[in-house]
Amino acid sequence: MSKLIQRYTAGERTNHWVVAIAFFLAALSGLALFHPAFFFFSHLLGGGTWARILHPFIGTLMVLFFIAMAARFWRFNRIVAADRQWMKRIGDVLRNRDEGLPEPGKYNAGQKVLFWVMVISIPVLLVSGIVVWQPWFAPYFPIWLLRLAVVVHALAAWILILGIVVHVYAAIWVKGTIRAMTRGTVSEAWARHHHRAWYREMTGK
């Protein structure tokens, strides 16, 4: 086993998992209200009515913690020229042919795209969600806006859910990744292979 490099502090990990757990509960209760095939997910929160009551509070919790997380990781997620080169070779990345890829920093282009998907979709979910939030806010908005908001909310949620499906799979697919968020550390070999520019910065090698 090679040496370990610190990737996430305890605070960053806690922040991430609060967002993740809130997302998980909000996504499942949201899907329950979206298609009858998913209605059974509402039982996770204590039935349809509880799912309806809790969903917006859980969503708001997710937004608040996401703002903190986005602020922490913002500066690592600026898209640079190397990211475009990396994206052009996405087919090779998916086939595990990583030789000669541009050297990613802390995040590769795929991770950065997910970051920006979240930065855009989560505020859209917040605003459209407030518009349809019964019984607190919805009565103050006209019905045409409620109609627009439910569609926008569903679309933004769909994009976010797809993004998170990819995010979770990528963590499983790229071995040695999950410990970054559970233990906070990654192996030097992992860092050198997947995030070489960040590895150099961290180790000075």
Binding site: F34, S42, Q134, V150, A154, L162
Partner: protein, 289 residues
């Protein structure tokens, strides 16, 4: 709230076949606005039969009382003063309430299984014990009818007295109407009755008299005879050509199955990528070096 359970045509958030061993005749309430005197007996009968008591409101200078529909007021006389011909004031009084659409937007939008049902007789009924209080029915309804209770956050509206109709009685409002402006029967008979009334109105100079049975929602099980059938908006903004909002149709139509399929496919794509291409592992030599 209903006695029927064998003759269901549609049930919210349900993808299985409906219990439909029994089939009942399609019914309709016909509201002949030309005969309405605005006595509000129908409002009282509705309160009485359904045992509802709205809060006592305040006079806002119009005859509408209460001011709007609510969880306690499922029908309401709406008074409009119009001059279709200059100098000739007309007082149009429309009994507002659920139209019991053949294609109900509320039911289409509802995510709670069995919170909204449509019987084969055409009545669209809310089952509040299954209602989760999300308010989606408000977005589905083209007539702005469902009302939220502040007490329990559930949606309420006219049941067309489904409990009375199920046992062969007419709705309470019909029973009480003193002028015959409200009639109830099979939808077929009500259309015939309306035709007679329209012929009569045309002879009396209302050349645009017409039946209001809007096809944009598949027809309704509450219909109006309008003296000015070409201008339904005169009657407290009765929509001319109501239909379920295209946004709601998109959301609960094509988007619902396609987006669900998309999420499912994404999960399976990941799984099959893993079992075919395999994980991305940092090679042993690389680990050691």
């Amino acid at each position: 709230m209903a006695l029927q359970s064998l003759d269901i045509t549609a049930r919210s958030a349900t993808t299985r076949p409906m219990p439909s061993a029994r089939h009942t005749t399609e019914v309709a309430k016909l509201i002949d606005i030309s005969k309405c005197i605005g006595c509000k007996a129908c409002q009282v009968a509705c309160m009485e039969w359904n045992d509802l008591r709205d809060e006592i409101g305040t006079n806002v200078g119009v005859y509408d009382n209460p001011r709007d529909l609510s969880d306690q007021s499922w029908t309401l006389m709406r008074f409009s003063e119009v001059e279709v011909q200059a100098g000739r004031l007309e007082w149009l009084i429309r009994k507002d309430g659920c139209m019991h659409c053949a294609d109900p937007g509320c039911l289409k939008a509802c995510p709670a299984p069995g919170a909204i049902v449509q019987y084969s007789n055409g009545i669209v009924d809310f089952h509040e014990e299954n209602c989760i209080g999300c308010g989606y029915c408000l977005t589905g309804c083209p007539f702005n009818i469902p009302r939220f209770s502040k007490k329990d956050s559930k949606a309420y509206k006219c049941t067309l007295c489904s409990d009375r109709v199920a046992v062969g009685l007419e709705p309470a409002c019909i029973k009480t109407c003193p002028t015959g402006a409200l009639v109830f029967g099979s939808k077929e008979d009500m259309i015939l009755h309306a035709e007679g009334r329209i012929t009569d109105l045309k002879e009396r100079g209302f050349s645009n008299a017409a039946l209001y049975d809007p096809q944009g929602v598949g027809g309704t099980h509450v219909m109006y005879v309008l003296q000015h059938g070409d201008q339904p908006e005169l009657y407290a903004n009765l929509p001319k050509d109501p239909s379920i909002s295209p946004l709601v149709s998109l959301w609960k139509g094509i988007a619902k199955p396609l987006m669900s399929l998309g999420v499912g496919l994404a999960v399976f794509a990941g799984f099959f990528h893993f079992v075919t291409v395999g994980p991305k592992e940092v090679e042993e030599e690389e680990e050691r070096s």
